[in-house]
Every structure is written in C-alpha cells, then in structure tokens.
C-alpha cells in the first residue's frame, strides 16, 4: 500500500526525470533502497508472515491470530483502550496546548510560562511515569496518605482513591462501560501532562504566524477576544492543529512506556503495544504479537497517508 502510493504521488508533483539518466538514478537509489528493504520492508513482510503462523512459527494458522485478537476479551479491551487514548489524549493535549499557547502569548513572562509547560516533554517517559506513580500513591483509609492526589483530596475529607487500580469512577462508586475506567483515565492524564507542552510549542509557533494586521483589523471592527479566537485564530491555525493532532494520534496508537511503567497493563489498562510486548517476550507467542504489530501498522498507515497528502496540498498552495 505504502510502496505503491509513493511513486504515484511523486509523479504528480515532481518534474519527470530526464530520460537516459534513469539507470544512473536507480544506481544512486540503490544504497537507500538496500537499507530500507533490510531495515523496513523485510521486517514488515516477515512480521506479517509470522502473524499468520502459530506461537513458535512452525505451523501456518491463517487468520486465526487476527480472529483471536478481535474476539478475546483482553485483546478487545486493549483495542478499546487505544481508542480511548486516541480520543481523550489527543483532544486534551491539543485543547490544553492551544489554551496555553493563546494565553501564554498574552503575558509578559511568556517564555517562562511556556518553559513550565514544556518541561515534562524533556523528561523521559519512564521517569514521568515513576513520578506519577508517586503522585497517585494510595494508602488505605485511616493511614497517612503519602500520594499527592490522595493527600489533597483527603484534606477536603474525601476518601482515598486507588487511582491506578480502581476501575469505578471515584466518589460516584459506579463503573462506566469498558474503556472509560478511572485508572485508564488516570494513566492517560499522565500522557496529556507530557504532550501538552509539545502541542503548545507547535501551536504557539502557528499563532505567531498569524499576521497582526488581521487581528488588529478585527479589533477595530469591534470583535471581542472570544470572537477573534473563534473566527480568526482558530481557522488560521487549523492546519497546525491538524499536524499536531496527527502526531498525537500516532503517538497514542504507539503508546507503551507510560502504561508499562505505571500499571504494566494490569487492572484492565493494557493497550496494543503492551500486549504486543507481553505476547512477544513473556508468552513468546510470535504469531499473536506479530498480528498485533500488523494491526498497529495498519492503523497508523492511513493516518500517515492523510498527513502526507495534507502536507503535499499545502506545498502546492505555496
């Protein structure tokens, strides 16, 4: 799919290569093609081959591994969790990033404010997850709460919540259906904390690109700040928002480190990547982990194509 797509798009935009130089061009391409096929195409094809075989790759089982993934409860739960990640993580990161970008652009200490939001991005995933494990730490009622969240809620007289293991929504004591579990959301918030900075920096750059004359003209015409944001800023930064959102969607599909360190996928927080790791290195089932890898790749490719297409159309406008 990917291989077919690229030359086609190349035809549309690039000038046709000069005839006669064809053979030389291929020779020049050879090293790159060689390495791409060794490091990219061969592993992808081989993973697909393994995904059609049994655990130790001795017997061909056809689509059984894929059937298992879409019927097994734990697998289904992981797929749903990824959907929740895509929606919640992307919406919150982009939304908060935009909010901070707009607000930070209006204060004198902009650099400092932005740095504060951006710092989590500089911390490694594992370190961030460890920090947040401390933040979410739970002690039974009546014990001294050493986790930040439970210490704060406790000072308002609320009972402690086991944020990383509890599925029911705290204080309501009612469980929502599958992926909307309290611990899932707690883990996703850590991802949001890390990636909001990224969204903010990119969106802030996009905001800086809006000509100030447009904004001034609007103000002169009597638009209030909300109208300016809604009718002018938002449409003008929407391409940037799309770029950030695409990056974050891909990020949330691949999400592994945070989940792995915080819950190891236990208590119903598994995502595709953690299950892929488990099936590969713990269950040593190459078939199912291969199938998961293929599904992950298949889910990411359309998003990548969309973003490539958009990038190209923007290039054409310029």
């Amino acid at each position: 799919m990917e291989v077919k797509g690229i030359p086609k798009m190349a035809e549309n935009t690039r000038p046709r290569p000069v005839r006669g130089g064809g053979r030389a061009a291929w020779l020049w391409l050879l090293p790159a093609l060689f390495f791409i096929s060794i490091y990219l195409i061969y592993p992808a094809v081989d993973t697909f081959r393994l995904s059609l075989m049994n655990a130790n790759s001795t017997v061909l089982v056809g689509w059984d591994n894929y059937k298992f993934i879409f019927t097994d409860k734990i697998m289904q739960n992981a797929l749903l969790n990824n959907v929740l990640w895509i929606v919640l993580f992307t919406l919150l990161s982009v939304g908060l990033g935009l909010l901070f970008a707009v607000l930070a652009g209006r204060v004198r200490y902009e650099a400092a404010a932005k740095a504060m939001i951006f710092i989590p991005m500089a911390i490694s995933f594992v370190a961030a997850a460890v920090i947040w494990r401390f933040v979410y730490t739970y002690r039974p009622p009546g014990f001294e709460q050493i986790g930040l969240v439970n210490a704060i809620t406790g000072s308002f007289g609320l009972p402690p919540v086991s944020w990383l293991t509890q599925q029911v929504i705290p204080y309501l004591n009612s469980a929502l259906p599958a992926p909307l579990h309290a611990n899932n959301i707690a883990v996703i918030l850590v991802g949001v904390w890390m990636w909001t900075g990224f969204a903010m920096v990119v969106l802030s750059a996009g905001l800086k690109g809006i000509p100030s004359e447009v904004l001034e003209a609007a103000r002169v015409d009597g638009a209030n700040e909300f109208q300016i944001f809604r009718r002018i800023i938002l449409p003008l930064v929407s391409p940037t928002i799309a770029v950030v959102a695409t990056t974050l969607v891909i990020q949330s599909l691949k999400i592994f480190d945070i989940v792995w360190v915080m819950t190891a996928g236990n208590y119903g927080t598994d995502v595709i990547a953690t299950l892929m790791y488990k099936y590969m290195f713990i269950y040593q089932d190459f078939g199912k982990s291969g199938a998961l890898a293929v599904i992950l790749l298949a889910a990411i490719i359309p998003i990548m194509l969309i973003s490539i297409r958009r990038f190209r159309s923007q290039e054409e406008i310029r």
Binding site: A24, L27, W28, L30, P31, F34, A55, N56, T58, T137, Y138, R139, P140, P141, G142, F143, S162, L164, T165, Q166, Q167, W260, V261, A264, N266, Y267, K278, F281, I282, Y283, Q284, D285
Partner: protein, 544 residues
C-alpha cells in the same frame, strides 16, 4: 569529464555495496553454524570422565585460566559470591568473571544461539535447566564432579531434582524458603497472642485480632504490586495453600497441567486465599490496598511504630527488607516468623496423603539421608530432625514452598570442573552462609554458621521439611505464570469472577503447555519425572 567521475563513483559504490552484502552473508553464515558447533561437544566431552573429576577443586590451574559466570544476583549477592569464590581464586590462580543480570534468560538464550555461552550460569529455577539440558546445551556434571561426594553431601531429592534423564546437570545452592508468616514478637507478647499452628487456628486468630481492636487492629498485610510481575505474591499464597492442603502429588499434577485449572481443589485454594483478602477487617483497605501496595512496602506494616498489621506471609527475602527499613530491629526478637500452618481438609487429613505419597513415590528418599553411613553423624548433628513419623502423622506435615538457584555448566574444561566442584563444597558455601542471605543445601554446612536466629530457623525448616516443592509459578511455562499473575489481579478486583478466570487460565494452559512440549520435545514429561521425588524427607522416618 563529469560523466567519467560519476561512473567511477558509481562503480565504487556498487563495489562497496557488494562487499557489505558479502559481509552480512558471511556473518549470518557464522551465526548459523555456531549453534551446531556448540551442541556437538556434548558428546565429545564425555571422553575424559573421572580423570580430573576426582582431583581436588583447589589444585593449581594453568596460568590465565578463568571462568565466566552469569547469574541473576545483584549487588549484595555479588559481593557475597565474590567472597565465596575468593579462596578458589587464590589457591588455583584462576580468575572468575562475574556478570549479574536481571535479564538472565534473554541474555543466555542470545548467547547460546550465537554459540558463545558463558562457562557457568546460575539459573533461578529448574524449568529452564530441564529445557537447556534437553536441548543439549548443558554439560553433564556427573562426569565433572565426584558423584560419591555429591550423593553423600546432598540429599537424594536435591540430586534428583538436578538430574535430567539420569544425568546430573545442576547443583542446587542458595535455597529460598517461601513458607513463612512474619510477625512482630513484641506485639504478640503485649497482646497475649499465641502463634497459630493450623489454618483453622489462623482464621480464628485473625477474627480475634479484628474483634480485639488492639494495636495492630488488622491481622494481615498483603501487597501484590510488583510492576510487570504484579500478582506473584498472591500466587505464592495460593501455591502454599494448595501444597499444604492437597499434598505434593496433586501439586505436581497441577504444575504439569495434568489436572485442569477448573479443578475444585484449585478453586478451593483460591477461595481460601480470598478469605484472607476479602474478609472485612483482615487487610487494611481490603483487596484495593493489596492491589496497589508494593510487595516490599507490605512487609513493613507489622514492624513500624505503631504496627499496622499483625502478620505478613512471604519468603525469607523479607528479612532483608525489614533490616534495611528498620536497622535497629533485632532478628528473632523484634521480628520473627512462624511456619505456614498446616491445613486439615474436610475429607480427612491433608498431611497424611502427602506423607504416604512421599514414601511410596520414592522409597529410598526417606531413608537415604540417614542410610548413607558417613553422612549420618553429620546430618543428624547439623539438622535436628523432624519429630513426626510420616506414617503416624495426622495433618502435621509442614509443607514448604520455595526455590533454589542452580549451578549449570555450559563448557567442560579444567577450570570449570575445579570451579563447580569448589562451589559444591561445604567450605565454600559456609562462607556465604556466614555473610547472610544464603541457605545451603549441603548437609555438611553447620546450622551454627547462619548469622542470625531467623536464617538458622529458616534453614532448619527448609532442610527438615517433609514436603518441599518449588514455587508453582516458577515451574510453569512463563506464559502460564504470567497469565496466573494477571489472573490473581483480576480475582482481587472481582472475586465473583473466579470461575471465568479459572476457565481463561485453563485455556491459556492448553496453549502454553503445548508450546513448551513442542519447543523442548519431552520437556514436560521429564519435568514430571524429576519433580515427583522432590519431597525432602529428612525426618527420622525409620532408623535403620
């Protein structure tokens, strides 16, 4: 001109490409050949048996000799191991190169496939050893060691456990005891509490603590959080309950998947563990706390001021946690343990089927400890024998789950022979025993060598146990073990889903055991064969 340059560069690049291709092919060719090369010497090595085997382990080795050891041990253990090996290095003039890694299995697998295994690996459980032995990766120790000495110094059950298809491949050392209930003697004295001896007493004692409302107000501290391995402390509980209640034979059937996970006895063991977790007031915060508390943090509750819980079940490594967290506490006085209580099942005595099975399964094992004449005096001196006679016992069999590290050799040369022989000696093991954190299985290591009362008591319990088994999870295929860990977490979250959890585990087992069987040919079969005589019968069964 330009064209000429272009062509030259192209030719050059094509050449370079060709070269790199050849190089890759060459490398992969070597990689493909070496495993077979590594596998064949197994046959040739047996040509010179007994020649250097009988030689003293401390004879001088040729200059520049060295052995490479791979183990899972960390900093403190590494230091102790170095100290243990120091006399060997001094007297033989050889060097030991030690690598400690948590990722032992992965590294070992990679190195074996690359045809470059370490000289010695110290494995954490016998399942892996059996697979490696069946794959002909291990060198037989029976030709390297003086078997007469080994049989004299190690009880038959441990020698049997290290034997695959009639050949000794591993020496057991550094045993672990996982049948201990830790408590704070001070709180027991203050509150006038008695140590329970049976499961029923344990439950009524727990009820008493709840109703007493003294300090501590909770009977149990349980924590199962352990990162990716979360859940294992709960599986230890279940394995211990199952072994104590249903005996060694059924335990082996369970571990080898000869009975399904849906077996009512397995469900019963889960439910008994559930009693501890889910009875209101037993665990502070109940299952929620158990799920989110780290297993190490859970060990502190009985010993902090004021104590928050009365008891904590876990292995002998807990002593290390306690002494690190509370350096002022004295072993045996401020913290101590009592053996996991016996369980009387409704259908009769739990102990007696286990006892009779040990006798029938390995008629020699019960007698062997005392039967080998030269060892008799030392054995009886070192290990005060159990009081119960297996035949007369009624529900007083102390079942012990635990583990031990296995010394395995991947190469056979003078240095390796000397090194393995040395490690097996009581002199070498006493060095680590004295440093703490090491329970020797060598019968000639004196109990007085243990650094404190707890280590001594643990060693005594371990060596005198009439029924010993490796932790169930460690004996299962790794996929099964991981699924079981996940299963207990699910059970703690939703105890009412136990039936469906067990059905899921049974489904996992069907594939997990099938995979191992195809991968390691007769791995399961031989596991069964070696596991059954595990029972360590060192009690005074019948004196000759």
């Amino acid at each position: 001109m330009k064209h000429v340059i272009n062509k030259r560069i192209i030719t050059l690049m094509a050449l370079a490409l060709l070269l790199s291709l050849v190089a890759t092919l060459g490398v992969s060719g070597v990689g493909a050949q070496s495993p077979t090369a590594a596998a064949t010497p197994a046959a040739t090595s047996t040509v010179t048996p007994g020649v250097s085997a009988a030689a003293s382990p401390l004879a001088t080795l040729p200059a520049g000799s060295s052995v490479e050891v791979l183990a899972t041990w960390g900093s403190v253990e590494t230091d102790s191991f170095q100290a243990m090996v120091a006399p060997w290095e001094q007297q033989t003039g050889a060097k030991m190169n030690f690598t400690g890694t948590r990722d032992l299995i992965a590294i070992l697998t990679t190195r074996i496939q690359a045809g470059n295994p370490p000289d010695i690996a110290i494995l954490p459980n016998p399942g892996q050893m059996i697979q490696l032995a069946n794959a002909k990766n291990l060198k037989p120790l029976s030709t390297m060691l003086d078997m007469a000495t080994i049989n004299q110094q190690y009880s038959t059950s441990w020698v049997d456990l290290g034997t695959v298809n009639g050949t000794l491949y591993a020496i057991f050392m550094k045993a672990a005891n996982k049948s201990m209930i830790w408590y704070n003697p001070n709180t027991f004295t203050t509150n006038g509490w008695q140590i329970p001896g049976t499961w029923d007493e344990l439950i009524s004692f727990s009820d008493k603590i709840v109703s007493d409302k003294k300090t501590p107000a909770y009977p149990w501290s349980v924590g199962v959080e352990s990162g990716q391995a979360s859940g294992w402390p709960a599986t230890d509980w279940i394995a211990q309950i199952f072994l104590t209640k249903y005996g060694g034979d059924v335990y082996d059937q369970w571990v080898n998947h000869q009975i399904p996970w849906t077996d009512p006895r397995i469900k019963d063991a889960w439910n008994m563990f559930g009693t501890i977790i889910n009875t209101p007031g037993y665990v502070p915060g109940g299952a929620t706390t158990a799920l989110s508390t780290n297993f190490q943090d859970a060990t502190y509750l009985p010993f902090q001021t004021p104590p928050q819980a009365a008891m904590h079940y876990e292995g002998d490594f807990v002593e290390g946690f306690i002494t690190a967290q509370f350096p002022n506490l004295v072993a045996g006085k401020d913290f101590d343990f009592f053996p996991f209580p016996t369980i009387v099942s409704a259908t009769g005595t739990a102990g007696s089927p286990a006892a009779s099975s040990t006798v029938t399964a390995s008629p020699n094992a019960s007698a062997s400890v005392l039967a080998s004449p030269p060892a008799t005096a030392a054995a009886t001196a070192a290990y005060p024998s159990g009081t119960a006679s297996p035949v007369a016992t009624v529900a007083s069999q102390a079942a012990v789950t635990g583990g031990a590290d296995l010394v395995c050799a991947f190469k056979d040369n003078a240095a390796v022979r000397s090194f393995v022989s040395y490690l097996a000696t009581p002199e070498a093991q006493t060095i680590w025993v004295k440093r703490g954190g090491f329970t020797s299985l060598n019968k000639l290591v004196s109990l007085d060598a243990y650094p404190d009362a707890i280590a001594k008591k643990s060693a005594q319990q371990l060596v005198s146990a009439s029924l010993f088994r490796f932790g169930a999870g460690d004996m299962m295929p790794s996929a099964m073990q991981a699924a079981w860990w996940a299963g207990v977490l699910q059970y703690l979250q939703n105890p009412d889903q136990l039936d469906s959890i067990l059905i899921n585990l049974e489904n996992t087992a069907k594939t997990a055991y099938a995979t191992t069987a195809t991968a390691g040919s007769s791995a399961t079969a031989s596991a069964t064969a070696t596991v059954s005589p595990t029972s360590m019968v060192s009690s005074t069964a019948t004196s000759p």
